[in-house]
Symmetry: C3
Subunit: 263 residues, 3 copies
């Protein structure tokens, strides 16, 4: 049996590797001869890094990246996600099952949009204690990684603690204005594309800061350096500059509100 | 049977993970009991990320990174490479076999230098249709990833479509000048080393912007902060500043032309 | 038998993939039918990237990242680490065994703090020659990668060459001053946290550049934008700005000396 474990964090480098080391150690322990017939060997773990460059502590950007990605993984995949400004406070840790996949991470809304996109999420509080001397600043390594190993070894998430209602997360509302629609930028990718909290295009032509955005199905339909609006591959509206950088051209960044004016 | 799948893109984070998810899903499908005796299990896939930080839409830089790396992989390796400014237009998708390795990606020259470095490339147009609702902006996930899974499962690239002549890519010419040689910078690595479109050093001593470049076999031969020229580990000429940063020192970047003057 | 191979370099992208390719090729060779009964198949290799964004040629930062991470990996793990300003000179290459784990890399102090943290290191000079035409600038690929494959295939490090005394590395001393303690910044992480060469907090309250640092066990104890000092998850003292960036706030960087004044 192969198990896929994905990781999504705002940690940059070397901390994610520590999480993988802990998972591999814990799995070795769980499949040791004394632990009886192993249901999995550590060699059958496939790690997939989703992202470790989420803007520091930007829960919404992390939730967007996880939401965009989870649907592409097979049933049984375990996603560990850690963007966790509240680490060390009394925020809960969660294991969530939805649509046959599992999500492990802090109860701050990070996991929920992805879990909801797959089905009806069932969430459990991580109540079990871990023997190891535990860091107060790195629950990704000290709690969520061993929990992922337990799930990979076949343990049921319901064994981790009581069922709870997870915290929701909103990507914010769009607002009808006199001139069009106001929306928020939830993510800026490395091409400078601006991803909005809208899952369909307005029913009319729009401009941004006085510049017309050509409605296209694909970037190839735009001329070089022409500003476009499209539904991106993630299912959200996206403002792009064909072969250019929309974030630089419009001087916008994640978190900014924008008004799309009807023209 | 182990299968190695490498990925090279200009996507930064989270999109490459989606490609891996699709490959794992597709392989699960191909090896399902109803699909008969599996020739491969998804657990025997080893993913290797070559690079996801290719400068956006810089096909030449991507081609250089792939060319530098492919020769180090064993026969049977499948390389997916996606630097794809023409996505959504009528540019073809290709599966190329060369020297026992496979390359999957857009027909824009990205794959060809690497494929040629291994042998005589044989290229097939990807003509098969994929059931899934397909994005217009992300063929890496929606076409090239499932094709890589098919190849990993043992399908012959000739089954994907008709044989075609792939588009070539040139790293540009060097030019003899009155004073020496003119060349192009095709890549700047994170040490600030300038990689030129030349595969051997000039037959004479040279200077760049009036500064002598010491010809060395290894950086250790240079003094601290001394400008050097050498054949890098990738086989191309490389201008470096020992324990410094040549791109900053000479104020040069990828795409710039440089003149190496004979001294 | 699963084998874990970690990689830590200052190479950025595409060079680490070449190292993985070489390891996979070499393992294929070692387990070929003519090589007798295989003790490992390449499919049972799990690669874990610790970091490839170590500041160029900063041996101390690399040593810190390796030291912080090695303890989380199971016995038998092979760590390749390459931050190597002296490549091509007469510095030795090492294979080091400590606490059941293995370290492969240059003899410049990079490996030693991590190896020492696990037990009593036993170091061997890499004296064996490799047939392949060898680059003078990339021992990570041409020497350390094949050595890691040999170790993964079960070869004893003592077969590589004679036992040697490895070069030590110091993270530098802290110094008692009239007003408090002087220490060095050995690493700045992507949150802007400043990691100091001290493994316990001073026995008194301190300020930095006139700003009081609140002593906390967890970031959650600080108010928003409050400067903190804590023992980080890596076991070193760390100066942070809660939900902010200490490196920017205090205008400090790796390598800087700081004075923590008693208040």
């Amino acid at each position: 049996m192969m198990k896929i474990i994905t990781l999504l964090t705002d940690f940059g480098s070397f901390y994610p590797a520590q999480m993988k080391g802990v998972i591999l150690c814990k799995l070795n322990e769980l499949i040791a001869p004394s632990a009886g017939s192993p249901s999995i060997s550590a060699s059958s773990i496939t790690f997939v890094d989703i992202a470790h460059d989420i803007p520091p502590q930007d829960v919404r950007a992390g939730a967007f990246a996880l939401l965009s990605s989870a649907r592409y993984f097979p049933a049984g995949t375990i996603h560990i996600a850690v963007v966790d400004p509240g680490v060390g406070t009394d925020r809960l840790g969660l294991a969530v099952e939805s649509g046959g996949q599992f999500f492990v991470g802090p109860d701050n809304g990070l996991l929920l949009p992805a879990a909801r996109s797959l089905g009806q999420p069932v969430a459990y509080k991580i109540a079990c204690k871990f023997e190891e001397s535990m860091s107060n600043t790195f629950h990704g390594r000290d709690i969520f990684a061993p929990v992922a190993a337990l799930l990979a070894a076949g343990q049921n998430p319901s064994s981790l603690g009581p069922r709870v209602l997870p915290k929701a997360l909103s990507f914010g509302d769009t607002k009808k204005t006199d001139d069009g629609i106001e929306a928020s930028i939830i993510y800026v990718d490395r091409f400078g594309n601006l991803i909005l909290n809208m899952q369909k295009l307005p029913g009319f032509d729009v401009s941004l800061k006085g510049v017309k955005l050509k409605r296209v199905r694909t970037y190839g339909e735009g001329r070089r350096i022409e500003p476009l609006i499209t539904i991106g591959s993630h299912g959200f509206a996206e403002i792009a500059v064909n072969q250019g950088n929309a974030a630089e051209a419009f001087r916008l960044k994640a978190g900014d509100r924008v008004e799309l004016e009807e023209i």
